[in-house]
Symmetry: C5
Subunit: 360 residues, 5 copies
């Protein structure tokens, strides 16, 4: 939570109380510089270049081709500002691009730009932690701009490779189909993350059913939080895409709509799976608590059996340890052995009694 909280704190420290529309990057500081890739393609040709000067990233002029501007790294405010100017993006849009603590949203800026913020999730198996990357997409009439916090690898790599490799549906499609491909990729990743979380949860469940330990509970809460993080990344998408497929945006062709409906369907399924895991966590928690009660019961029974058996015996030994002058039993030649016999009998009787009461 610490790291995530820091992000939110960053946002507060850097952003609150500035004049609205002021562009401030609120993510963590990154040393590397922004990499901007411009891809232009249609079903006939494909051209990819890395942009060096900001002037090169102007919007495309040719009607029959799609331009994709992929911005890797959003910590250089002046770069984002320049792109904003070239494509005449609204200042509030740019503000949201830079605000890495912004939750997912979809907004129409006039009929020119469709703006979407998504969270790309990755499961870090070492730390058992879900890592989130801020991704923003701007869909224009014949272009798509994608912004991402810089990471080791470009999240959209599979799409680039698909575009380069062959003249498939993606190459033949317009900017809106490319937009769909990007959303689909992000949403498909949610399945992968959930699947890994689910595996960890099943391991934990088996462990808790077999031998619960005191700190299993903390681990369980850790997973609950990670799951909540996934849910928070996906939940807003349900409304966003639910609205998008119902309304008639001029930027989205009706043939693409059926594909967006498919993304919507995957979002629902992700939420469903997340819900299943949430219920699973709750069940494990209940099993843990019940096992605590069962254990307590078992400890209490052990204590009771020991106490109930040895108390009477010790008492009898105490009786014949008394120093009264007149205690006839003491002088009987077999008194000691009779007493031991009685003790054995009492023990046996109590043992049977506790056996019957299921204490032992």
């Amino acid at each position: 939570m610490g790291k995530r909280h820091k992000k939110f704190k960053n946002y507060i420290d850097k952003k609150a109380f500035t004049s609205p529309g002021t562009l401030v990057y609120v993510g963590k500081e990154v040393a590397e510089s922004t990499i901007i890739k411009l891809v232009e393609f249609n079903h006939e040709f494909y051209h990819e270049k890395v942009i060096k000067t900001l002037n090169d990233c102007r919007p495309p002029v040719k009607e029959n081709q799609v331009a994709w501007l992929d911005v890797d790294g959003i910590h250089e405010v002046n770069v984002i500002e320049a792109i904003g100017k070239h494509y005449s993006l609204h200042p509030l849009l740019l503000e949201d691009v830079l605000n890495t603590s912004q939750k997912p949203k979809l907004e129409h800026f006039g009929e020119k730009h469709l703006f979407v913020i998504l969270k790309m999730l990755q499961f870090n198996s070492e730390l058992n932690q879900v890592e989130s990357e801020h991704v923003a997409l701007v869909l224009g009439e014949n272009f798509l701009i994608s912004f991402q916090e810089i990471h080791q690898t470009d999240v959209f790599l599979p799409i680039f490779e698909r575009l380069k490799a062959s003249i498939g549906k993606t190459r033949r499609g317009k900017a809106d189909y490319l937009f769909y491909c990007c959303c689909d990729l992000v949403v498909d990743n949610y399945f992968v993350v959930l699947e890994k979380l689910g595996e960890k949860l099943e391991e934990l469940e088996i462990k808790i059913v077999e031998k619960p330990e005191a700190n299993d509970q903390n681990l369980l809460y850790h997973f609950k939080r990670e799951l909540m993080l996934v849910r928070k990344a996906v939940l807003p998408l349900r409304d966003m895409f639910g609205t998008l497929i119902r309304e008639d945006s001029p930027l989205v062709q009706s043939t693409t709509n059926v594909y967006l409906r498919d993304v919507y369907d995957h979002i629902l399924q992700t939420l469903d799976t997340a819900e299943t895991y949430r219920e699973m966590i709750e069940n494990i928690q209940n099993i843990y608590l019940t096992s605590l009660s069962n254990k307590m019961n078992s400890v209490m029974k052990t204590l009771t059996v020991f106490t109930a058996i040895f108390m009477p015996l010790t008492f009898i030994a105490g009786i014949y340890g008394m120093n009264f002058d007149n205690m006839p039993e003491l002088h009987h030649p077999n008194g000691y052995f009779y007493t031991l016999g009685i003790m054995v009998l009492i023990t046996a009787a109590l043992w049977v009694y506790f056996k019957w009461k299921k204490y032992v």
Copy 2:
């Protein structure tokens, strides 16, 4: 859960990150080959054949008869692809047919095809487990295509037999009535599954009320999960059929609508029953937890009674075990017997006290 999780994992491994519309079968591997049955009928004749070459499964041409293509097994992608081509089905439709982890859904592809995914459930009494089979239906103007994961027996057998047997309502009906019959069969099965789950639950309830044991809780959670599985199979159907009977699909005649309303009604009743069982499980769980507390109380009382009775007695014995030179009682001829008498009195008094406090 393990097996189910595997299914989901299969989906992730095989399907995520492929280009959209790529057909991949994600179910478990099956050795047997696909069986395709084509039934053509109207109120006058009935003809059934098993299709050998994929070319034979073309859509029907005669207007006044209904064609039913029943595809048993969906693991051969090329077969599904060929059928898709013959009937000009949308690639996303075929993707969903193959995706056995797809949750139930209803989708209109234009005005030509009504596409429905259902889950056929079976209760495996040996494993106390609900087993789910992926079923897909495509309703066209005068044909119905049904896809099912291959299993020992065809799930639609009762309908085939009814068709063959006599010229009833099903023979006289159109493709939409046949579609209704298939849905009705699947939904009726939910009652059967729930009924068996309910029987098991009642047995468990009686057992837990009578003598709760430590691992009853795990069994209870097992049933909770199975019930959840049924619920997850049925819940989406409520919206699907709720929408279907409200909207005016050109593929569904108004006379059939009243029958679909009946299916909708059965779906509601299934959900109702599932809800009742969920509440029942919760109640059993509470009874279990309370019985744990009651047992703990009873153990504690046993311990307290033993301790409270023998402690004073042992103390008195200890007193007269002391070696002081001057202890007048020790020399009284009946001191020993008086002491024993006092011990009996104390025991009696404490017994009465604990009786009154309802400890014994």
Copy 3:
């Protein structure tokens, strides 16, 4: 639950997988034969007869009078079928009439028939159980058909008597007003049942607050289930009548609408009362659980006080029971009495301490 479950099981065994529209009675077997009463009336005359042959129960021909066909017993399928034919009722309607496990519902069959299924409830004070009777009403333009599972007495007796007795509102009304009277009667009965359940609950609450016992919990769950049964009978009525009073059915006059609104209001109030009782049960349950904890605390305190007082005393006695050669205290003439004194002091000190800690 057993009996109820049986009903549901009956339904599964007899009904599932038959062709839709097949008429099968699913209630329990009854020996007595069906009694059909036909009442014809308007504000001028009243005529009542018991029908012997099924041909006599044809729909009325005279416009200015209301016909009420009261069918007592639905286990004779051929009788129901004949009535269905005479009044041209839809097969699915008849199916629901016969299906005693069908939950309450309201359905329009065209503009000719308004079909309602209700559950008549009775509280069996001996078994502390709510008993449910399946009631179906079919409202036509100038007739009403009522179906009921046969019982000792006709549930609509008060209405018959009111009709016979005088020319009141019911006699002057049309079939829709009669329909309202029947619904009103059933709904009013819910109040009676809830009132009796409430009485039992209050008794139980007082008992549990005063002296909770181990099996009170089971009784509480029993009432919870009975209450749930009432709720399940009433809940669907809210939507049914909510819709009925909003929509403009040709079978219901606007003057009757205000009365149906009154029924709707009573349904809301019933649900409200049921909700109150549900919360009451939850509260009693919490009180019960807390009292278990309080009792455990009290048992533990008793144990602790006994242990803490006698342990030091027994230890001191043990000290002076040791057999060391050189133990000067033993030879002091008043050593024994001093020791006893010290023991009394220790006991007093501990007693004060536990008094202060509120243990005794």
Copy 4:
């Protein structure tokens, strides 16, 4: 609860199964007779009289003045019936006026009468109980009829005094403004009741945090119920007034609408406060339960410390109480004192150990 339940029981006994529209008073029996006050006023004059014969309470004829008929006591059915006849009120309206167990509701009877049932609440500080009075208002074009169960004082007294005192807004207003004033008064009272409940709750909270006792829990549940009673009186008002201010009733002028919106706002705030208190009760309950657990822990620790310290000591004393012939330590001159020393050391070591484990 007993008293309230009785009210409900009364309703069942007297009202159920009577023909609809039959007027029966279901409240508790009252000896005093009904007091009817008729106030006529406009901005120019104010006239108030107590009505002796029922004929005097006819509806007003003069257009430019408002008539307010205040009926104190609803147990004389014939009086209510007469008023109903004079003002041509619907029989179901009168039924609801008499039914003191009727929950709050708002109903339009045509365009002539707006009918509202409210619950006037009072907090009885002695019994810590909320007392509810049934109030009904009928708004006509230029008159208002108010019905109330008879009580020590007229609930609308402040409004009468305001009317009499000066030509304020109320005098200048029409019947709908007067209607608003009555509703406002009732709703303002909810704040007072909640405020007193809140005070009691805060006292209880402080007590429970400081020293929880076994029967605090019952007190808490008592308050929970009283709060629920308030909530049940207010909750229906939200929908009632929410609808009233949205729809365009001919009886309510648009200038009055803004005032009704204010009442609506107060209702929301009341519900908000009730919700806060409900959460507060839940929190107190949790604090109580946790404090029980904490106490149990502390009792257990006391027990463990006593047991763990004295058991080893008693054991050592037991060792040297054995009567073996050959026990060299016994004959050592300082054996006794060495043994005592070892006992002191063991006690100290255990004490330090339990101190470290936070047991003491």
Copy 5:
């Protein structure tokens, strides 16, 4: 809670039962007098003055400039009344301005005034308490009136400074943009408050996971309440701004609408964060309760181990402390040492047993 409750009590004491529209200040008594600042500006000039006589605060006449009347302190009823007269504000509007216990709301008074009540929150780090200040905004065609309870500093100071400093967007904007700036400022503050609450919660969580103490629970409930306070301040804003951005108010330009949508987005994010913290509190609470159970288990195990080891040993010592004449073991020369050896063996065996059972 005490202070807050007082506020509510004040409201009840001073306000309930007065005639509607009567202006009464219900906040706490303040000695300082009201400060009224009037700022007039457009993109060309900026003029600020402190108003001395109430006549000076008349509405602006010049069309092309914006007037902002900032009223610091609302305890002087006559001042508020005068402003109300000058700007012809509705009496109910003024009532709400003065009512510091009024929850946030947005109301249109005709097409002339848009009225908004907000709660400015501040986190008092010393008392760990959220402090709330009542803020009211009235937006007219070319003016904005802001009311605030007097405090050390003006909450809108940052906006004044921004206006004075340079000709930014705020100077160039109309009254509606200024209105947006004020709302944005208040909403941004919620993030700051939540961030501080979050920090405190994380500290508490770490503490409870490491070493839970009895009164941590009370602290947790304290934070729960503070969080609830924030939620109660923010929740109504969601609907208020949700409605504002959908509807077409003549007072809000369409260019400002996109900014209000941004505020709306921030409100959603605040609620989201509050929800996250609420879940966090619940989790901490569960961890606390489970840790109590775990601790109890550990105490019980300690007790059981001590009892189970020393009881048999003491019993054996008791045996050989008996005074029977004939006890052969006593006379064996190594009897004592053999007995000690057996005791060591028993201890070792029990130790191993409890080690295996994970008791030690």
